[in-house]
């Protein structure tokens, strides 16, 4: 008995040791790359933070750029006191929120019908939706501009140089990809769930609102985050479609109002950009748990 256990032990220990060693190496390498990437990606925001705390004199002075000698919140205070910046912030927020809502109102029913209601051409249409997303934004804004001009000629409605016109434009960028995310998510919902609902007496609309939307919350949140990010950080379109200061959104506003000719107000630019990056960050932080939580667990076998 004792002999047996000794023999067993001696054969087990080296295996365990080598497993531990390979695990340690794997961890070491993971940490090495994680630290490397963290430095790489966190350096710019850190530099922004440092610069935003300096006055313009210190920024242009020849001192260590990574150190703040006379920290000041003047840049932030100046931004909050300027009506322009608050207008940009408001424009951006309203646009982003409405775009998210509009995107969801279009994408959810679209994804549901494309993934569940087999109709003539549904597969082609689903692929088409994805292909639309592959067309670069930069190629779309000239035709869109043309369309706006055409609408103006036809109806007299002026869409150019109005911040709310961006609400009409952004869904052309967000809907295809959001739909695509949701198609994939809906496809992962077991087919028996709709069949059970169908037998229980639900119509397609009830199936969508009572089963699909609640079950697909993580996927819907992922799509919402995507739509929000696109709407919030879009630069090219607002630059092309809006010009008056009161119509600008945050990214364009910062660049156009804080750069006067060849004078760069670096401190305020950095402060404004940092504040502008905050809302998406907060949203990510809040919704990440939701996003990761697999709500379908327990629906079927498992």
């Amino acid at each position: 008995m004792s002999q047996h256990s000794i023999a067993a032990n001696s054969s087990v220990v080296p295996v365990q040791r080598s497993m531990q060693r390979s695990r340690r190496w794997a961890l070491l390498w993971s940490y090495f790359f994680l630290v490397l990437f963290s430095i790489f990606f966190l350096m710019p925001p850190l530099y922004m933070l440092i610069t935003s705390l300096k006055d313009s004199g210190e920024i242009s002075a020849v001192t260590n750029p990574w150190w703040v000698n006379r920290p000041t919140f003047d840049n932030y205070l100046a931004l909050f006191r300027s009506n322009d910046y608050l207008t940009f912030f408001r424009n951006s927020s309203v646009i982003a929120v409405i775009v998210v809502i509009v995107t969801m109102l279009i994408s959810i029913p679209a994804a549901f019908s494309l993934s569940r209601m087999k109709f003539w051409g549904s597969t082609t249409l689903a692929t088409g939706v994805f292909l639309t997303y592959l067309v670069p934004d930069t190629l779309l804004f000239i035709p869109l501009f043309k369309i706006f001009a055409f609408i103006n000629q036809l109806t007299g409605i002026e869409l150019i140089n109005h911040w709310w016109a961006l609400i009409i434009i952004y869904p052309t960028l967000t809907v295809p990809f959001a739909t695509w995310i949701l198609i994939a998510y809906f496809a992962s919902i077991p087919k028996e769930l709709d069949e059970a609902a169908l037998i229980d007496g639900a119509g397609y609309f009830q199936m969508l609102t009572k089963i699909f939307i609640p079950v697909a919350i993580p996927g819907i949140i992922a799509a919402m985050i995507f739509a929000f990010t696109v709407a919030w950080s879009q630069f090219l379109y607002p630059l092309a479609f809006t010009t008056s200061t009161d119509q600008l959104v945050l990214p364009v506003g910062i660049v156009t109002t804080l750069i006067k000719g060849d004078v760069y107000n670096w401190g305020q630019i950095m402060a404004g950009a940092l504040l502008g990056a905050a809302p998406p960050l907060v949203i990510y932080a809040f919704l990440m748990d939701y996003y990761i939580a697999g709500l379908t667990a327990g629906a079927t076998k498992g």
Binding site: P190, E192, E195, A197
Partner: protein, 366 residues
Amino acid sequence: MAQVKLQQLVKNYDDTPAVRGIDLEIADKEFLVLVGPSGCGKSTTLRMIAGLEDITSGDILIGDHVVNDVPPKDRDIAMVFQNYALYPHMTVFENMSFGLRLKKVPKPQIEERVNAAAKILDISELLQRKPKQLSGGQRQRVAMGRAIVRDPKVFLFDEPLSNLDAKLRVQMRTEIKRVHQKVQTTTVYVTHDQVEAMTLADRVVVMNAGRIEQVGTPQELYHFPATKFVAGFIGSPSMNFVPCRLEDSAGELTLRLNDQIAFPVPQEKVARYRSYLSHTSLLFGLRPEHIMEQRPHREPGHHTFEVVLEVTEPMGMETMVYFLIQGVEVCGRVNPLAGAQAGQAITLVADLTNMHLIDEASGKVL
């Protein structure tokens, strides 16, 4: 309460036939099991009854109404799925009451019916839990509860026990039978497990390749299979089939398996088998339980033969023995006390009163 009728039911997927013309009548309150290997069309048939699958041709009647084009929700059926298909975001109570809530049944009535069903299934304590907090067996009960609550004309079960482990499956099998006895609703149950079919069913429908092979009570199927397929499918371990020929030696009809082994055909079967005397493609069919060790008293129809055992499998209550006749592996069931050993020459007894003669060409039991 309703009967279900299938008339010349056909289902083709594109050009591949899945169900090739089924005629079936399911009586009111009957527990009918569709059984067959995967791809035999049993699930498709069930899904057509449910209305989840379009019918290519033929008719389905529930009660006296043709329901071919009636949507599932208006057929007054309830279905239990293999993977339960519980709504993951709803509690057990919400799951069970979903159908009633959609029908706008008044709240007190909903509560009453859910509680009654929960009581039948012994899940009253689980009503406030979410599906992911339940074990497999509990989920299965909830899925059944969802069906019972709606008090439908017909229950449809699509392999409801396949996802459970062996022990729980046996337990839930009894549970399903108990529930059926209580609620007395016409039930159509699909499974690939013949044991489940035999234990649950009032009548079993054996399907193969989109057709019905045989319909009958479990006892009928076991003792009087109509085809080789049914004979081999029902019973575990399955029936032995050995090529044979009929010989007439001095007026006695004999069944010859090989040079050494030949049995006299039992008297009651002689008249029936005599016309196949010159037939070339005959199979001798005998279940393992009808091949046993030699016993002190010789019963009528029992005949001894000698073989060399290839493999023995002690199962505790009995020992399965395997040997070759004409290169075909044959299984027998002997008393463990008989001390059968692999490699041993042994005398076994064949109970010929339970034999079957099969025409291999047509697959029919003669």
